[in-house]
């Protein structure tokens, strides 16, 4: 593998995105906490400003993984694989957050942390797909096969994103149906709430972009390191 240039630190854009995201995070929390309470749910609705953006970013991240997995298979460029990997990792974190916040929300509203309900189940499965993605990566030694196999899972597994999203519609469900329905473009939500939600979504998106770039950079260094280790090991043996 030829490595043209090995960046020793993340570039300015990454730092900028990260800075902006972190800077705006308190503002987002402020907006969320001052948003008007819901008619039914009262102040509990504030979990939404965390729950929904993290879930959506999870979706987005997995979509990016899907795209870059496809790209990798067409171009065979390890860089694409690294982006896919980074995005999957961060998607897993966001999806995990959505699950946790959802469970925290479920306890007061439904009385249980978990039930066998399509949205919850499909979301848990979605989470499992990407756990599997990383286990598979861990199980394969040959780097090329590892990347290809991971790409395959990244592509096939993505089907669970639309399923998770649509599950509330397809199966009669306990979970909230979409208030912002991407399939019809309808928005059923108070404007203030909508604005607050969008603001938080923006912040999380910034953070996501920063994290992906950062993680991609780390992965690149790792890949360089693997190569170096192989060579170093050999050099040592040759000395002996």
């Amino acid at each position: 593998m030829t490595e043209a240039r090995k960046p020793h630190r993340p570039d300015a854009l990454t730092w900028g995105l990260l800075g902006l995201g972190l800077f705006l995070l308190p503002a987002g929390l402020y907006v969320a906490l001052t948003a008007p309470p819901d008619v039914n749910q009262g102040f509990l609705v504030r979990i939404m400003y965390l729950h929904v953006p993290t879930a959506w970013l999870g979706y987005l991240a997995f979509f990016v993984t899907f795209l870059y997995s496809l790209l990798y298979l067409f171009r065979q460029n390890p860089k694409h694989d690294r982006v896919a990997l980074a995005s999957a990792e961060i998607g897993l974190v966001f999806m995990g957050l959505a699950l946790v916040t959802g469970m925290l929300w479920a306890r007061p509203t439904w009385g249980v942390y978990w039930t066998w309900e399509p949205r919850l189940t499909t979301t848990a499965i979605l989470f499992a797909v990407y756990v599997g993605y990383f286990l598979l990566r861990g199980a394969i030694e040959d780097p090329e096969l590892r990347r290809k196999a991971a790409a395959a899972v990244g592509i096939l597994g993505f089907i669970n994103v639309p399923i998770s999203y649509m599950s509330v519609k397809w199966w009669r469900s306990l979970h909230q149906t979409q208030s912002i329905d991407l399939t019809t473009g309808r928005i059923n939500m108070a404007p203030e709430m909508f604005q607050a939600l969008m603001f938080n979504l923006l912040i999380f998106t910034l953070l996501y972009l920063a994290f992906v770039r950062f993680r991609g950079f780390l992965a690149e260094r790792e890949a360089g390191g693997e190569e170096a280790e192989a060579l170093g090991l050999e050099a040592r043996k040759e000395e002996a």
Partner: protein, 221 residues
């Protein structure tokens, strides 16, 4: 094309001669349906309600078993290398193995349906539609199962990864199939069941094309 049929035929022949896999799948169906019927019975209500779930779990496991075997046999005997060294691209291996499984599973599914009907008091008037549902569901399931079994055939931890990876792709199929089956058994009008079939069909098409395209890539690795 010819190679696909030949491979499926050869695998069928091997399976019929060996009998072990076939029999264990059959035994599994029988024991599973029997025990569940016992646990839920003898009242008709709960039996009927549980039937689609039981049927689908049985089918899902049966096909996982067969999918694993489809490649495990090659690995065990060391003949996978021979397949990999055939000239040309490798999709035909995927389709051959898939066809083999469908040819085995469809009769088995029909059998399982009959057994379930007997044990769980299911009405069979709409048997044909039920079988259609089975076929659609089994195809979706098997297309992914074959793909992953091939991907993992040469890996060490395959038995762990297979259920995990497979399961996440397959639960939606199983869910849709269970819903369609339930709808049919409850006597819903076909128009209400049709969306589930559509969904299943979409799954089938997506999984099949994706797997077929990806399979040669991962086999080369």
């Amino acid at each position: 094309m010819r190679k696909v049929f030949l491979l499926a035929l050869r695998d069928l022949r091997l399976e019929v001669r060996d009998r072990a896999g076939l029999l264990s799948v059959l035994a599994f169906f029988a024991v599973m349906l029997f025990i569940m019927a016992l646990a839920l019975g003898p009242d008709e209500g709960p039996l009927r309600q549980a039937a689609p779930g039981v049927l689908w779990v049985a089918l899902a496991f049966g096909s996982t078993l067969l999918a694993t075997r489809a490649f495990a046999l090659e690995v065990e005997e060391g003949t996978l290398d021979d397949l990999l060294l055939t000239p040309g691209s490798k999709e035909w291996i995927y389709f051959g193995k898939l066809l083999f499984q469908m040819l085995l599973l469809l009769p088995l599914a029909a059998l399982a349906l009959l057994m379930a009907a007997g044990l769980f008091y299911l009405p069979l008037e709409r048997g044909l539609y039920l079988f259609l549902t089975l076929a659609l569901g089994v195809l979706g399931y098997t297309s992914v199962a074959t793909f992953y079994a091939g991907l993992l055939a040469r890996l060490r931890g395959r038995e762990v990864l297979l259920p995990l990876l497979l399961f996440s792709l397959v639960v939606p199929v199983v869910l849709a199939a269970v819903r369609a089956t339930t709808g049919l058994l409850e006597g819903l009008p076909l128009a209400e069941v049709a969306p589930w079939w559509q969904l299943l069909l979409v799954f089938d098409v997506v999984y099949l094309t994706a797997s077929a395209l990806l399979f040669p890539v991962i086999l080369e690795g």
